[in-house]
Symmetry: C2
Amino acid sequence: MTLLPVIEATACCAPLTRDAMTQSQADDLAKSLKAIADPARLRLISIIAASEGQEACVCDLTEPLEIGQPTVSHHLKVLTDAGFVTRSKRGTWAYYALVPGALDSLARLLVTA
Amino acid sequence: MTLLPVIEATACCAPLTRDAMTQSQADDLAKSLKAIADPARLRLISIIAASEGQEACVCDLTEPLEIGQPTVSHHLKVLTDAGFVTRSKRGTWAYYALVPGALDSLARLLVTA
DNA sequence: GACCTATATCGATGGTTGTCAATATTGACT
DNA sequence: AGTCAATATTGACAACCATCGATATAGGTC
């Protein structure tokens, strides 16, 4: 499933509270919010963000959350599809990094006035 | 179901990206995000926010969204439980108003550094 | 009280989603 | 080629959720 990346979804629009949203604006924003509205995914973002270079290896993400490796992989895919993180493979390892500004664009949409 | 209001859920904490979150912090934040991660609820917030005094009657909320009245009522309850809006009844009508600062507290948690 | 209007609650239903176990893929190393 | 380690994908299942129709509640008016 391809998903409108956050940055594009947010580049165009007035804040949530300025004007009544259209249905498709609401759909896009809801998709972005759904992508981060999960405890496991929030913790993944949080760990990645706190890591050096805002980048972390999957091997460092599996233990702290107490869920299986396939589930971690699934959550990382959701975050990637939504445009919050990017994946780069180096050797056998996969590194996930925050997309700079992605969370901020989203946050800006929620601020009132 | 009682839910930790956004304001309280966010009053205490460092931004999402400063430090690794605990499980319960992630649970709370995810609940707040889930509450607004729905197109119908985003449009409700949006319409309320764009109204005079950031307050709107349910009667003005049912038509624009093209969903049934019980569904609108359900979404408003979710938003109320999560602390984004408050309900006040005047006569036969129910008015929902934005909780000042609720969305902003949430947004602040998402901003990086 | 009887009736109407506005809103809330209940029960059911179809669709989505988080999780897991099992398996596949990919890359490194001998 | 063969093996091992890291990660991704698949298929299944239970839990959750958005929506609806039907009904209940509450306030106003006659």
